[in-house]
């Protein structure tokens, strides 16, 4: 339910960025076409910057956390879930071709999914998996003030 509401908000926001005339705002403002934006609008550097900063944990993926549409995106969702991270921003790039290209331009990274912690790009599924396996993810989450659920799981085991 929450995911559907969030998706609706995102689509609405993307439409707002495009302006009433339906043209991307950056072009409407008279600026020359920029190669770096994914066609302007929701894929522009400014728009992506806003998205990566809107929450400590932001994921660009295919599908949604409730229904990932790609094995690599699903792996990211599952890893976050293992750490008890359920409150994060997830953006479905399949819904927005401009964002899909724009996020790749922004991070200079060719693939989806992409994980941002505190506005900073940390990598895709492979890197997140290795961070999970070597303990780095627990540390990075701690820096964001997020306590990984795995720490509590360990404590429970020690009690037994």
């Amino acid at each position: 339910m929450r995911a559907a509401v969030r998706t609706g908000w995102r689509i609405g926001a993307a439409a707002a960025l495009r302006g009433r005339a339906g043209r991307p705002l950056s072009q409407a403002a008279g600026e020359g076409g920029e190669a770096e934006g994914g066609g302007g609008g929701s894929g522009s550097r400014e728009a992506v910057e806003r998205l990566v900063r809107e929450h400590p944990v932001v994921v660009f993926m295919k599908g949604s956390p409730a229904q990932p549409l790609c094995g690599f995106s699903n792996a990211v969702v599952q890893i976050l879930r293992l750490h008890g991270v359920e409150d994060y921003r997830a953006h479905d790039v399949l819904q927005d071709p401009d964002l899909r290209q724009g996020i790749k331009n922004y991070s200079n990274w060719p693939t989806i999914p992409q994980v941002y912690l505190n506005g900073e790009f940390v990598g895709g599924c492979d890197i997140l998996l290795q961070m999970h396996q070597n303990g780095d993810l627990v540390e990075e989450l701690k820096k964001l003030g997020i306590r990984s659920a795995l720490l509590d799981a360990e404590k429970d085991q020690e009690k037994k």
Binding site: T7, L69, C70, G71, L94, W109, P110, I127
Partner: protein, 125 residues
């Protein structure tokens, strides 16, 4: 390791593969001088028809990665395959280790299963 030895090892590991597989192997070898290299075509696992070359996984063991964080290691791999990633290479799984790391743990995790991806592009909710 010299070129011919690596090429022979590559052939033994997974066969020559298609043209893109050979290109990937050649470019990674030239860029990173790996001591161990595996190039795996995952396209069939993602619903690709026979002969498809769209989804690959690479395991690269190279001294060039020493001292580099994972992000930088992966960027080196991407840089070597920039043209392919802008073209037919749709997905790329990367394992990038130093020779020491590979020696202490000569195993790589399996690729995650495909869940349909772009074939299921449609508006939802």
């Amino acid at each position: 390791m010299r070129g011919p030895v690596l090429a022979a090892a590559g052939e033994a590991m997974g066969g020559a593969g298609g043209p893109l597989a050979r290109t990937i192997r050649a470019k990674l070898t030239a860029a990173l001088q790996p001591t161990h290299l595996e190039v795996r075509n995952d396209s069939p696992r993602h619903g690709g028809p026979p002969g498809a070359e769209t989804h690959f996984g690479v395991l690269v063991v190279s001294g060039r990665f020493a001292g580099l964080p994972l992000l930088q290691r992966h960027r080196l791999v991407h840089e070597a395959l920039r043209a392919e990633l802008a073209g037919p290479l749709h997905a790329l799984q990367v394992i990038a280790r130093t020779p020491q790391q590979w020696q202490s743990d000569p195993h790589a995790p399996p690729a995650p299963p495909c869940l349909g991806g772009s074939k299921r592009e449609q508006r939802r909710g």
